[in-house]
Symmetry: C2
Subunit: 424 residues, 2 copies
């Protein structure tokens, strides 16, 4: 790495996403948000995000404007093998260079097709063409390489628009190179994950603590459905051990909202639950109706979840609530499929049938159909059963089928976490 | 409405979303996609989407550039009551006008707070201030009104960033006014959904068809994991029945890639499968190991899926493959949990146990752990069982746990769709 003194100050960054599908609204641009988050973490500010078409003249126009605003321009999209992918050709012309075959990339692409033993086409070969003079950023998970250009003091980086390819290139290569290329003041992040308390209530409970934060430490509320992530960002104040001083702020935070904190690092609720289960040698099962497998999907998304997760019965049809989860026919007849009595029976049935120490259950009316006067769309029940007994909740939440399902899964995991931590 | 002749030709549209949270990646900009979709439907092209900060000078700079590219500029965000909401003040200065109280808006805001009997603060009263000379677009579902400006032939529209408020203003007021203000030529979109063939293979199979497209009809490839959406966009060429002529191109497309087409409209594979099942009166069940409930989650994400989906057994632990899905112990012992023999037994067991006409099963090593020399991470098996028999596949796919799970779910749904359409 160059000595700090010889490296220029941190630049503003411009993000440019390319593709007609973005302008037509057929694809939502999630790449920019990821890049913005990652750049913020290393202390770089995004000046503007621009989404432009696949037309060469419009891409060039956007490049001209971006370089007037920022000294780093991160570009995604338009690197595919098809006719409408122009970015590489436009950049070559823009920097006045020819497309040349990059041998390592060609070898990688060839091997890529050999591994999946698919025939390699000429268009695939051409994925290894790059503008002469750019630094090739090896793309281990795809066939289109990233490209790093420097032109009159401005850095241009072109990456594929495929999110997981872009993310790997950003993380493994682009961010480290930016760190090396520019003198970036140290910045620290401390993240605290909370669940069970809305943003405004959380803010109220910690208002005095937030007001007392030193000027170089900022607090951000990052709410998601049923959870709020608190992120402290500390910028260099010339004093030693910035991170240590930030961590020293946490005990006072715990005093105020301790019961709602499930982790003091970037993680998920299901991962935190998994650690608790592992630590106690407990196994878990789920019985799902309205969530249709989402709870199990979230739990099994955690590496190593096979160490504590037994499995799930998605009893969408009432027959299966009886035959696979031992829910008594009377319970369904008297209380209905969406009731605390039914989810309690489902959770207890799952514990027995699936041989788990702890089981959760969900049942609700996700909509748009299926609602009634007594039980409108958004009526949601969930339960947790363990050796000590069973707890259940009924709530009302209707923001459309997809969000209703998501919120139900989040709610039952929150109840499970509260149960495992002795809060309910 | 003005007679066509007297209305100007369709303008390009520029979308500007305002807010630091967009640049930090704390919020994903979904407003632009909605606006892009709605504008495309009425034949207006989005020239560029720009996300800018809450800083006045940067908003002004973006306005200056946007008006050079387009004659309509749609702006969202920065209309809230807090200090960092500057849009209204910036626009007033930009158009050289004063903020004046808009009586209907003030009455609406007052009534709004009365209804929720909350105290109305001065900052709330100020929500009714608008730049003199703008046309106020009444916001029935919020307190910040939309604002329509005309300046030297360019239309500027400012809307709140809250998605459901923006959507209502766009639909009820902005789109109708644009239709009335401009003479808009028809534009048509035809979407064809494919699965089972990679982008480059698809492109090669239809290259001659694509080359023969008339100049006013453009083709875009929109790939996602295991599927490619083809989008034809037709612009007016003065000839009648543009849509009819676009649809007339499809038979030749079907000749080339018919077996891979699962829909000729915007939809999902699971929704297309649901329609097939409903049409034939067939029920479905899933037996999942590595996908952990994702297949069931995708199926139950479709409204009305309770009409054909019985349920799922997520048999994560081998015990449950035997006890809940009747997989013979010998099969697990001899072939292993990740094998075509096991997924075949799981699918057949799910059909019987869950009482379904058709069942799918998955088992694989999602990683990062659990791999072996014989069965490395990414070894994935899946099967479909119906009254005619059982088909299964083993593939190798390793792009990290999350994508391995996603791709397995996509693969088994693709096999199910091929089975239901008599291809396998």
């Amino acid at each position: 790495m160059l000595p700090p003194a010889s490296r220029p100050a941190p630049p503003d960054v411009e993000i440019m996403t390319i593709g007609d599908e973005l302008l037509y609204g057929q694809v939502i641009d999630t790449n920019s948000a990821f890049m913005g988050q990652e750049l913020a973490k290393i202390g770089l500010r995004v000046r503007q995000i621009s989404s432009v078409s696949d037309r060469a003249d419009e891409i060039v126009g956007a490049l001209d404007q971006a370089r007037q605003r920022a000294r780093v321009v991160l570009i995604t999209g338009g690197l595919g093998p098809t006719k409408d992918d122009l970015t590489k050709h436009v950049l070559a012309r823009y920097f006045g260079s020819e497309l040349v075959m990059d041998a390592p990339t060609l070898a990688h692409v060839t091997e890529f097709f050999k591994r999946y033993n698919r025939p390699m086409l000429e268009v695939n070969r051409q994925q290894a063409l790059v503008p002469a003079g750019c630094q090739v950023l090896f793309n281990a998970v795809g066939t289109a390489p990233g490209m790093w250009f420097e032109d009159q003091g401005t850095v241009f980086v072109s990456m594929p628009g495929v999110p997981f390819e872009m993310k790997k290139l950003m993380t493994d290569q682009v961010l480290p190179r930016l760190r090396e290329r520019f003198e970036i003041a140290p910045i620290e992040h401390v993240v605290v994950m909370t669940v069970g308390l809305g943003e405004s209530y959380l803010a109220e409970k910690i208002a005095d603590w937030e007001d007392a934060l030193p000027p170089n430490i900022k607090l951000a509320y990052l709410p998601s459905l049923g959870a709020v992530r608190l992120r402290l960002t500390g910028s260099d104040d010339g004093q030693p051990d910035l991170r240590g001083r930030m961590l020293a702020l946490l005990p006072a935070l715990r005093e105020r909202v301790g019961p709602y904190i499930f982790a003091e690092e970037e993680t998920t609720l299901e991962a935190a639950i998994g650690q608790l289960l592992l630590a106690r040698g407990l196994t878990l099962a789920t019985a799902e109706s309205c969530t249709g497998g989402l709870v199990a999907h979230r739990i099994t998304g955690v590496p190593g979840s096979s160490g504590y997760f037994r499995g799930s019965v998605v009893a969408y049809h009432n027959d299966l609530k009886m035959s696979e989860l031992n829910v008594p026919a009377e319970t369904l007849a008297t209380s209905g499929a969406v009731s605390e009595a039914t989810v309690q029976a489902m959770a207890e049935g799952a514990r027995q049938r699936l041989g788990a120490d702890v089981a959760v259950a969900t049942s609700g009316i996700a909509g748009p159909g299926g609602g009634s006067a007594g039980k409108p769309v958004g009526t949601i029940c969930f339960a947790v059963a363990d050796a000590q007994g069973t707890v259940s909740r009924q709530i009302s939440f209707d923001r459309g089928r997809a969000l209703n399902i998501t919120y139900t899964a989040q709610s039952v995991l929150a109840l499970l976490w509260q149960r495992l931590t002795g809060q309910v």
